[in-house]
Symmetry: C2
Subunit: 258 residues, 2 copies
C-alpha cells in the first residue's frame, strides 16, 4: 500500500505529488499503518475473511480522509490469509454467510460507492436479513457484484488481474517506475469500475483510451494526470488491483529496490 | 515518522517532494513501518532501552537507503517506554551497562556519523570492553556525546527541545504546515549537530542563519530547500527532534487533521 501510493505520476489517483481535497497522501499512509494488526491476524489465520475485512476497515476509519483502502483490503485479506493466489482462491471458496454479514458490517462503516436500487445495497437495512435468508456466502456476494466491480471480479474469477499485475511489475523492472508503468498498462486495457460507478462507463472507457494514448506516446502523462485529478476521475479499483499485484510480486521475489 | 517525512518543504531533508540519491521517501516510510514491532515492545515494557533500539535498527536495516531513523529511535524508545517526557526521563535514568552494550551493537548495524578518534567510537573494536570496564550506562554514553549531538543532549537534559517542539506544533495549528513551521523554528534557532558532523559547525550555523532569514521573510523557502539539497546539507538531528515532538504532541491531544 505504501509503495503504491508513493509511486507517481499515477493518473487521477492520490500519489506523492497529488492529493484530493478531502483525501491526502497522509490518509493513505495512515490507513496502511493502521491496518497492520488486521493483516497480521490474516497471516496468523483463525479469523474469517469477513471479520478480517471488518477489522481492517474499523482500524482505518479513524481518519477523516474517507475510504482509502477498502478495495485493497478485500483483495489483500484472502491473499495474506492464503499466502498466495492459489491459497487466496481456496480462502474465497471457504467463505460463509457469517463472512458476508461481517463484510456488510464493514461496508456500513465506510462510504463505498454502490449502484442504486440494489436490494443487497449495504444502505438497505434489510440487506443482512436477505443475506441470511438467501444463505449467501461472501463469495456469493462478490458474484452478485462481479459484473460491475473489478475487485469482486477478482474474487469470483480467481485473481487473474492480480496475477497479470504481478507479472507486469516484474516485466517492468524495479522501483517507482515499474509501478507507474504497470498502472498505465492496466489503465490502458481495463475500464476502471470505480470510475464507471462514480461517473459512467463512458468516462471509464474514455479514460482507458487516453491511457492507451499515453502509453503510445501520443498524449502527455502529466497533462493526463492533471486532467483526471481536475475532473475527479480516480481509477480507484485499478489502484486496489495494483496493491494486490505488488503484494503478490513481492511475495514471489520481486524487488522494489533497484 | 510518517507525518514528519511527508511534510514539505523541509529544507535539506527528504520530504514529499525531495529524495536523496541513495535515500528515498519510500525508505523512510518502510523504516517507519518496519519499526512498529519494536515500538510495540517499548510500549509493552519489559525490554531495556538499548535492546529496544537495537531491535528497531535491526528491523529497519533491511532496506538499502542507509540510516533513516536511528536518532528518531533513540528519542522515541524512552518516550514510548515511559509514556511521556517525565516517564522518558525516568527510563533514561534507569539505563544500565547492558543498555549501552546493546546500543553499541545497534550502532554497528548502521553507519551513523561519529567524530573521529574517539575511543568510544563504535568502530573501535575495544569500545564495548571499555564500556564494561568504565561501567558506563547508556545514559553515560549519551552524556559523553551530548556536547556534539542534539539527540544525546535530549537524553541528558530531559528532553527540553522535544518539549519545545511539541509546544511549537500546537502553537502552529494543524496539518503539514504546522510541521513545516515548527521545523523552520527549530532550524532558525538551533545549530543542527548532524550538519556540524557531516560538514562543520560553521555550515550548521550558516544554515541556522539562513533559516532565520526564511522565517523573517527575507529568503525564499523553496530556494533555500533547493540549496540545502544540492549541497547535501540535511538537518538530520532536527528531523529526529521533530519526530519526537510530533509523538509527544499527538499523545497530548494535538491533532494533525485540520
Amino acid at each position: 500500500m505504501m509503495l503504491e501510493v508513493c509511486a507517481f505520476p499515477k493518473p487521477g489517483n492520490v500519489d506523492r505529488c497529488h492529493d484530493y481535497r478531502e483525501t491526502l497522501l497522509e490518509h493513505f499512509l495512515a490507513s496502511a499503518i493502521f491496518s497492520r494488526p488486521a493483516l497480521e491476524h490474516a497471516e496468523a489465520g483463525g479469523a474469517g475473511l469477513g471479520a478480517l475485512i471488518r477489522e481492517a476497515v474499523r482500524a482505518t476509519s479513524s481518519h477523516r480522509g474517507g475510504n482509502t483502502h477498502f478495495g485493497a483490503f478485500l483483495l489483500l485479506m484472502p491473499l495474506v490469509a492464503g499466502g498466495d493466489i492459489p491459497g487466496a482462491r481456496a480462502a474465497v471458496s471457504a467463505t460463509t454467510v457469517e463472512d458476508a454479514v461481517a463484510f456488510y458490517q464493514a461496508f456500513a462503516l465506510t462510504r463505498v460507492r454502490m449502484l442504486d436500487q440494489d436490494p443487497l445495497d449495504v444502505n438497505n437495512p434489510k440487506a443482512i436479513t436477505l443475506l441470511r435468508e438467501r444463505r449467501m456466502t461472501l463469495r456469493d456476494v462478490m458474484f452478485h457484484s462481479a459484473g460491475n466491480d473489478l475487485v469482486a471480479r477478482e474474487w469470483v474469477e480467481g485473481f487473474p488481474l492480480t496475477r497479470r499485475t504481478a507479472d507486469l511489475l516484474r516485466s517492468h523492472g524495479c522501483g517507482r517506475q515499474a509501478i507507474v508503468a504497470t498502472f498505465l498498462d492496466l489503465l490502458a486495457t481495463v475500464p476502471d469500475t470505480f470510475i464507471a460507478k462514480k461517473h459512467s462507463m463512458r468516462v471509464a472507457e474514455e479514460t482507458m483510451r487516453k491511457a492507451a494514448e499515453v502509453r503510445a506516446g501520443t498524449r502527455n502523462l502529466e497533462a493526463f494526470d492533471r486532467e483526471c485529478i481536475d475532473r475527479g476521475i480516480n481509477p480507484g479499483s485499478l489502484a486496489d488491483i495494483l496493491i494486490a499485484g505488488i503484494y503478490v510480486a513481492l511475495g514471489e521475489g520481486w524487488k522494489w529496490e533497484c
